[in-house]
Amino acid sequence: MKIKQTTQFVDNSISVRTVIPFERKTITSVNLLVYMMKAQTEAFPDKQALALALNNAYGLRSSFRVSAYGRQIVFECRFQYIRSQWIQSRDYLKEVITIMDQIMNHSVFNEESLQEAKYLYRTRIIQQMDDPAAYSVTQAMEIIDLPHNIRLRVQGYPEDLDRITLQDMEQLDALVKSLPHHVYVVGQPEPPVLQYLGSIDSDAELQADYEAVCSDRFFTKTQQRDIAQTNMTLVYQDQITADTPLYFPMIITNAVLGAGPNSLLFEEIREKRSYCYSVHSTMIRFDGAVVIHLGTRKKYIQDVLSLVEEQIRRISEQDYEDRLLEVSKSDYIDGIITAQDHPFSITEQMFLDELLHRQQTLSDRIEKIRNVTKADVSTCAKHMKLLSAFYLEEETDEE
């Protein structure tokens, strides 16, 4: 168990993570598990009972997340409860522990809860995919027709639902329970809570499993919908992952390119030419890729494509102000310092360090960022190669 002791927050925040393989055949079931685990438990046989218990425990927060790390999925249970020094209730900690234990270990699965989970999941996915921006990003990955996890949807596939049975879910639940749990805590956990968490924590070593995507091919697709503007997503492979020497330079390359309002994409596409309101780039560190997304008019697509390529070229040729590099570095450093004010950012960092077997302090990371040079960033940009492009275009040009 990893604990950051601090009185900075009024809550104690707990992250319990289980690592499972990221596979096409099981990812939808993993997402269904999220719905089923909170529907019913042995002690809280319906949603009303659980809702009352959470409220009565002074707003104990409970949530699940399913996240991809290369060839692995992390199934995460999160809890947040107000530190007991703020609460004048003798049974408070007992209630907190009971609720956490019930949710994680005593879910009741039956046909009704499975059907409900399928229904809620299906309607949620439909809503997500109706959003043009989310759809564009998902499709840009899916069209990458390579044997690589980058094309898999971490949200799962509604078309799988009909074949998933109660037995499948029970087996998955049993599997998740049997696998090592890794516990991360931020706050000042009380002895009874620590004792409980210690009983579920495993000291099994975490092993990362990932590989950078690499291909000479290029994948593209265009679709049209009755929407107000084109949502375009470009995926660039860079073959730089979290364990490579160029990892920190790549973070800064992404920042210079399009991570915020001081970036080249923001300046050239939005500010100088007014082609869009929103443009940004994001690193996928376990797949070795950068995703660029923006909303613009159909008539500007070719200009935008040229501009994106031009900015990558500029970075590789070091053709931008030194000031931009320094600002990108200091913004990123500010971001990782500010992350210390967010409990689940702290737990995420603790997990990553354990997964990647890094003995790295905050100062170490800041130092690595400070040491990134324009030449390093240029090297990273030279690695970038367009892998896929997806365009969700507006059907009509409405002015």
């Binding site: 949603k47 809702a51 002074y58 409900e116 949620r124 109706d130 009755d226 082609y275 500010t338 004010d341």
Partner: protein, 418 residues
């Protein structure tokens, strides 16, 4: 145990209100400078004389403000190791920076750029394309469209019916003169509120801000007030339907409520009604499971209310194939709200939640800053606001909710395109 918040407040000689909150142990500092003017400020009075602006003026100006000394002020903040952003809501426009480094220079820069306007026909023309792209982005969001049309159905005159971004026509036709006039009337120091939230000592910062503003007098020739045209009690459109590129319909059932001019009463009404909504439209209600079983609700469903001195409403929304069944559910809930008491167990659990919210509220910078801005513009006490659930009794909540007039209903449906 009470959550102690270390707060310093002062109104400066030029009228600017300053609030500084100390958060020991936190790395980040936030400085926010807001004007008490936003999307609602399409009409105002200056010393009683009416003024009209194009819709979207506050928001367009927010975009323009970042032009500073021939460049983008974002770059200057970046050089100070601070990140900057801004937003326009219905009631305010706010500019803020965040940093883990020195705060004094960013404070200087924040005041300097907000208290100076630099726009030209070229900067205005350039911004139109960006704002129209933002407009298109929101047009694609079904929940935003649902809300917008619900307000249009409710309100004939109130600016809630007008997009904060403005109409396409007003965006395209915006001029330097219109923006400058809005600026002159609303960005005077007497209309500004500064919130600083930091782990650093706040007494020296208060002195610093005081000195910064000592050379910035108020120029406002009189009193600026928002002008909201009288609003009929009735809704405009009892029913509205449109189509979007979605696969499952979204429906909203809204109730236009009578207005209460006393903001302190509004705070309590908001809390009382929200308690009922949290009880009825959530798993706290045993019927909620029945609605799920009948596939009327999905995870995109809820209810909200808002009470202020010039408007009051509540609405229920859902993503659902069973539009008519959802409307019936809402009508049933409203009937219950007219007479039924709050469930005792649910009430007690919501009180505990309220206490928790009180304790937690101070850990979140941005929402804390916004809470302070809102209490200053609404002239209510931050502490009264924070403690309302603690002091609310079941009887009081029931009396408030039973006494409301739910006659004015409107339904909005966004359906999939055929």
């Amino acid at each position: 145990m009470k959550n102690e918040l270390n707060v310093k407040q002062e109104t400066l000689p030029n009228g600017c209100q300053v609030i500084l909150v100390r958060k020991p142990g936190f790395h980040k500092s936030l400085g926010m400078l807001a004007t008490q003017a936003g999307g609602f400020d399409i009409k105002q009075t200056l010393n009683g004389q009416p003024i009209t602006y194009p819709s979207g003026c506050a928001h367009f100006l927010e975009h323009q403000m970042f032009h500073y000394k021939g460049g983008d002020v974002t770059d200057r903040f970046a050089a100070l190791q601070a990140q900057t952003n801004a937003f326009t809501s219905f009631n305010e426009t706010a500019y803020y920076f965040q940093t883990t480094s020195d705060v004094k220079k960013p404070i200087d820069l924040l005041f300097d750029f907000v208290e100076h306007l630099e726009i030209t026909p070229q900067t205005v023309a350039k911004e139109k394309g960006i704002i129209l792209s933002e407009y298109d982005m929101y047009k694609e969001n079904v929940e935003q469209r649902l809300m917008k049309e619900t307000w249009r159905s409710m309100y004939k005159n109130h600016p809630l019916r007008t997009d904060i971004l403005g109409s396409r026509e007003d965006i395209q036709n915006m001029t330097v003169e219109q923006l400058s006039r809005f600026y002159r009337n609303n960005y005077d120091p007497s209309r500004l509120i500064f919130i600083g939230i930091t782990g650093k000592e706040t007494a020296p910062l208060l002195t610093y801000v005081r000195e910064n503003q000592s050379a910035v007098p108020s120029h406002l020739p009189g009193r600026i007030e928002r002008l909201i045209d009288p609003e009929p009690a009735e809704v405009v459109r009892p029913y509205y339907e449109d189509q979007m590129d979605i696969r499952i319909p979204f429906v909203a059932v809204g109730y236009k409520l009578p207005v209460e001019p006393d903001e302190k009463k509004n705070v309590r009404m908001d809390a009382a009604v929200q308690m009922y909504l949290d009880t009825w439209m959530s798993p706290l209600n045993p019927e909620y499971q029945t609605w799920l079983d009948r596939r009327i609700l999905t995870s995109a469903a809820g209810a909200e209310c808002e009470f202020s001195k010039d408007h009051a409403f509540l609405f229920f929304f859902a993503q659902t194939q069973e539009v008519d069944a959802f409307i019936k559910i809402v009508e049933g809930i409203i009937e219950d709200m007219k007479t039924k008491p709050l469930d005792e167990a649910a009430f007690r659990s919501l009180r505990s939640m309220g206490i928790a919210s009180n304790i937690r509220s101070t850990d979140h910078y941005e929402s804390l800053a916004l809470d302070w801005i809102r209490v200053k513009t609404d002239h209510v006490s931050f502490w009264e606001n924070l403690n309302v659930l603690k002091t609310m009794t079941k009887t009081e909540a029931e009396e408030i909710v039973h006494g409301l007039n739910y006659d004015q209903k409107c339904v909005t449906v966004m359906r999939p395109k055929k």
